[in-house]
């Protein structure tokens, strides 16, 4: 095996003399088979914003890259982790040990993502996270084998949290989903609120996933906080927002901060209920010409549903990884990671960006407001752009990072 790799490297080195011959040599080579495992929620509350849509995004990345023509044989497999860390960890081990999977992509649900993060590091493979939120993936739990692409709790708190405090919401009460993600989001948002001179009056930890939030909302109401921070996601957020409107909480002057709201959640709520919500995303299908063009190719494969930022992130991260393999002609995790961090990212969905030493993908974040029903031109026309946060403002600065990779 080692000798083979040596041979191939020397062949490449020789071929690098002229670009033309390098390309023809690469094409003449044995194709490299890459197996990418898309691991996410395919049946539960996050299935619409991750699920099969993420597998489709990964496939589109392989097609758009022209992987086959570049001598890469890309296989996409997928599985359902049911939002359970034990299930996710088992699948990850099975994939790495027995099914020759090189890369695991997506993995929403922070508790599962942290487990897969650990296993990927042990097995020295690559983890392209798009779906999970916890900023610990590039903080205290950071790994040389992980890229955290789309968003994180720091960015969400910075975007939505910062905007709410600036608008006068200086007292907060949290409804927090009782697992890794909720805790991280509450922690990061609390930091933002306090840094800007606000106060956190209380928090309630809600069982995940939940259906009835009225009791928790009433506790939030009783706190008289100006802002009720929803440190939850998916169906939990949808139910909280629906019920907050029902119990007259928003009408009573308290504001809701949906700290993590996806475009699919707005679709589920309907504009009547969701209008006026302020939220932060790093991708919206109707952002510019190239996002629109890509999304119009994506939607027909998902029964007309527009892509979420998580699915867009799977596309972007897989595309960048394929570029790394095509360039290094190696599946070696360290080589691919070095290439990915050393070269600028460029895709139609997030534009140009970089990957930092801690694994954080840097790109701008967008502060959106949900349109009123009268402002919307039709299905999926939901957001208007309030502000663009440059990457350096949106994401945690390296200087404030607990990641051992950065300190070393």
């Amino acid at each position: 095996m080692t000798t083979f790799r040596m041979n191939r490297r020397s062949v490449l080195a020789g071929a690098a003399a002229t670009a033309f011959s390098a390309r023809s040599m690469a094409q003449a080579q044995q194709p490299i088979t890459i197996r990418i495992g898309v691991l996410n929620d395919r049946s539960g509350l996050y299935a619409d914003l991750t699920g099969e849509g993420s597998a489709i995004a990964a496939r589109m990345a392989a097609e758009d890259f022209g992987a086959a023509a570049k001598g890469l044989n890309v296989q996409i497999v997928s599985a359902d982790h049911q939002n359970k860390p034990d299930v996710g960890a088992n699948i990850a081990r099975q994939w790495y040990d027995n099914d020759a999977v090189d890369v695991i992509a997506d993995v929403p649900t922070s508790s599962v993502a942290l487990a897969v993060n650990q296993i990927t590091r042990e097995k020295n493979k690559i983890f392209l996270n798009s779906g999970a939120a916890t900023s610990d993936l590039t903080g205290s739990q950071c790994s040389p084998n992980t890229v955290h692409w789309t968003y994180d709790t720091y960015m969400l708190s910075q975007g939505t949290g910062g905007a709410m405090v600036k608008a006068g919401g200086d007292t907060w009460f949290f409804l927090t989903a009782d697992y890794a993600f909720g805790h991280a989001l509450e922690r990061d948002t609390t930091a933002v609120v306090q840094r800007q001179g606000g106060r956190v009056l209380g928090a309630v930890r809600t069982p995940f996933p939940g259906t009835d939030f009225s009791s928790f909302l009433l506790q939030a109401q009783a706190s008289r906080a100006k802002v009720i921070g929803l440190a939850n996601a998916g169906g939990d957020t949808v139910n909280s927002i629906k019920q907050a409107a029902e119990f007259g909480i928003t009408a009573g002057g308290q504001k809701l901060a949906g700290l993590l709201v996806f475009v699919n959640d707005v679709h589920a709520l309907g504009l009547q209920t969701a209008q006026g919500l302020v939220l932060t995303e790093t991708f919206y299908w109707d952002l510019n010409d190239s996002t629109r063009a890509w999304s119009r190719r994506f939607a027909p494969q998902r029964a007309g549903n527009m892509p979420s930022m998580v699915q867009a992130g799977v596309y972007g991260s897989v595309l960048h990884y394929l570029k790394a393999v095509a360039a290094t002609r190696s599946k070696d995790a360290a080589q691919a990671m070095t290439w990915m961090k050393g070269n600028e990212t460029d895709d139609p969905l997030f534009g140009k960006g970089t990957i930092r030493a801690d694994g954080r993908k840097m790109h701008p974040a967008y502060l959106f407001e949900v349109k009123k029903p009268s402002e919307s031109k039709g299905p999926w026309d939901y957001y208007k752009l309030l502000a663009t946060l440059p990457a350096e403002e949106a994401f945690r600065p390296l200087s404030a990072n607990a990641c051992p990779l950065v300190r070393a």
Partner: protein, 295 residues
Amino acid sequence: MFELLGIPPQALFGQLLLGLINGSFYAILSLGLAVIFGLLNIINFTHGAQYMMGAFISWMLLNWLGIGYWPSLLLAPVVAGISGVIIERLFLQRLYHLDHLYGLLLTFGLALIIQGLFRNYFGSSGLPYQIPAELRGGQNLGFMFLPNYRAWVVVASLVVCLATWFVIEKTRLGAYLRAATENPTLTQAFGINVPLLITLTYGFGVGLAAFAGVLAAPIYSVNPNMGADLIIVVFAVVVIGGMGSILGAIVTGFGLGIIEGLTKVFYPEASATVIFIIMAIVLLVKPAGLFGRTA
């Protein structure tokens, strides 16, 4: 102002009321399960899926046919009930002479299939359904703001539960039902069409689940998993109340809703488990459930 266990009384009343509202859903759902188990001896694991169907049927009626909330309160249970009758005629009737386990597995499988089909078609993030215009807004009770719709949920479920109890315990039809439960062969000998009675009972049980689904549509997210999340709790309610006991299902439904509501104040992290802790204790002390008869 005095405080009770560190909580001001106003907040406590509010939480009690909310518990009662959630209890309404538990009561209707566990009532349907109890009726079905009582007569068919089937542990109906499809119940959660049928509750979900109720919500989806009302969404379809509104968005595809323009039929609003009030008619669908009647129509959705009827449509779901008919689907129940078909399931009973096609599958369940072949299982009555077998062990409980077969019915449980069959209905569980059907639930997975139904949920899978809805998920495949509608996705998992849910669909919007507005509260009917007549019931928007709410009353300020001093200690809390009670949305009109929630008040309606409590009233509707109480009426349905009591009516069901009345029909089964106090009418001639109910007497036939109870007789058929007690001794089907003898009842049939008196010229009563027991198989028809059984089919209709299953249809009625399913209708109850769908009714709860319609009630839930405007306040919970209408999504294919809405029943799966709830059904396990409802089964615990039925076990605590005593399998097959009508009154037990109603009383424990409301009671456990209140206990769960209080847990959400005192120790929110445990609110998803408290019902199961109670179930374990009840099973240890009174294995037939609070209202159950020991066979």
